[in-house]
Symmetry: C2
Subunit: 327 residues, 2 copies
């Protein structure tokens, strides 16, 4: 991140499902007034529930929980007409994205940044119908957006340098860790890694090797803990020892070609596999409602982020920086 | 884990690289005397350095750091002749494993459990030269073994039910979370997921999409934090909302077939790619020595495990159970 953090003066959130509502909560907790648009009758309920979760999580972090105002708007035009940052989080279908972004494009201030929460689509494809595509970036967050710092920033063919700079500044301004991905690919970076794991995990369940619960335990009692503080490469650097990363990779190389994973193929989502996944997941997690699981998750994330803050490391550093702004 | 935890009375560690040495440390911190064998002149140094790291980590956890005695043995026979548990952690080559396990097999008590730390090989293949293959299990840990609870337990064709039960009890006895994988496949479960991520990450670097540092940040500021406390399936269950896991997967299904990941192929480890990985890793982590990175990692893991213990969740529950035994 090169740009200094800048708090946007106001923001619009277009699409208020779980992701859009969590954006609204993060922005409001930072003192940014939010104008929201979503035609769904469920939107208000989701906005309220996610805001309550976000307040609880920030309370766990020891951060102030005052929220800037939320204004529900009847049209996209009314939401975006006078804001610095517009966050689009509508369903992951190109036609829906195009219709939404065109309406945003027609009404947004020329100097506004338009961020799309898309997890898979390309910025250049999203920008196709826009009059002013230079304002559009992909700004892909991870749930819960009010806690997890990461946001992938990806420009398209027409995105201006100024927009990228402003986006990095704004998302940094609301306490995030923007990662500027310099090349456009479907699913950006983090979701490609996730998709790889997801495919392999489905095979493991499909072939009866392990249950959803066993796979989750293999993650969270092992490498998941490691990845909360160091990623793949830094962890393997340690494994390589004093010989350095080149030594490690030269040793590891041949094993790469072993035909271990089943990722050459996509498991067929038969009704049988779906039912197996569903029943295993119920057995694993069915004792809790989704709301309860969200609170458990958020309490754990907050506690681990506090632990990393005390160690001045990783996501804890992002939290420390955020905290310093409230002092 | 069905079996009640049982502390082995004594143990042998065969192969004292980083993994074997960390097994020795975990066993000794639990009060289990360890007999070690490794022909390498480096073995004593590694045993000492890893023991020092383990003591520091247990001190961070607030656990007692007294260690049961370590006896260095000149032969495999002398190491294994009179112990309850033998942990083999020699290099990942079938010929080396076979020679080592045959010597263990010839000298170990009939009722001993022989655990192999292999990350990739099948128990049935490892057992081929053994006279008493019923005693052998794969017991695959994750580094740092003295901190991370997970150990994958996999039997082979000839492994007895009694051995599996005893292995689950012994590894539980030294504060671990044994996961019994019921079917043998190369790389078991956790390393298949890791290999999938590793391949995709190499493509991302190879194709110039992201650097090692950006990929690591995309992990540790985002889904890595989530995975320290809930795995893949429980996280997606939350994403699915009240509709349940079946609803989620039916929605997600079609996206599975999108040609996102490059996992259909293995990147060629050209000298150019190796050098790029090496220089990016140096830039990312070169400010710290491997010893320093190990201590940073261990302090972070200990702090996060304490945070999860306070929340009575996941790896924190394993730690709480372990702590209760020292009271």
């Amino acid at each position: 991140m090169a740009a200094d953090p800048v708090l946007p003066g106001s923001a619009a959130v277009i699409g208020c499902g779980v992701i859009g509502a969590a954006w609204a909560a993060r922005l409001r907790l930072h003192g940014v007034p939010v104008r929201a648009f979503d035609p769904s009758p469920e939107a208000n309920r989701i906005l309220d529930e996610v805001a309550a979760n976000a307040v609880a999580a920030w309370s766990d972090l020891g951060l102030p929980t005052d929220m800037a105002p939320l204004t529900i708007c009847d049209t996209i035009e009314a939401a975006v007409a006078d804001v610095d940052l517009i966050q689009e989080s509508v369903p992951e279908r190109m036609d829906v994205k195009h219709a939404t972004l065109s309406a945003v494009d027609a009404a947004a201030p020329h100097e506004a940044v338009i961020g799309s929460s898309t997890s898979g689509l390309l910025c250049s494809d999203l920008a196709r119908p826009l009059e002013r595509p230079e304002r559009l970036v992909v700004a892909h967050p991870f749930n819960p957006v009010y806690l997890l710092p990461v946001v992938e920033i990806v420009g398209g063919e027409h995105t201006s340098e100024a927009t990228i700079e402003r986006a990095l500044a704004y998302y940094g301004g609301v306490g995030m860790k923007p990662i500027h991905i310099k090349a456009e690919i479907e699913a950006h970076v983090a979701d490609r890694l996730l998709e790889a794991v997801w495919r392999e995990a489905l095979w493991l369940v499909n072939d009866g090797i392990a249950t959803t619960s066993e796979i989750d335990d293999a993650i969270r009692y092992g490498f998941g803990l490691r990845w909360a503080q160091m990623g793949l490469f830094e962890t393997y650097r340690i494994a390589g020892g004093e010989g350095g990363f080149g030594h490690f990779i030269r040793q590891f190389g041949p094993a790469l070609a072993w035909p271990w994973t089943k990722l050459v193929d996509v498991p067929e989502l038969t009704e049988e596999l779906i039912e197996r996944l569903e029943s295993q997941s119920d057995e694993q997690s069915g004792a809790y409602s989704i709301r309860e699981l969200e609170r458990i998750r958020d309490r754990n994330l907050a506690a681990m982020m506090l632990a990393l803050e005390a160690n001045d490391w990783g996501a804890g550093q992002t939290l420390a920086e955020l905290r310093s702004r409230f002092r």
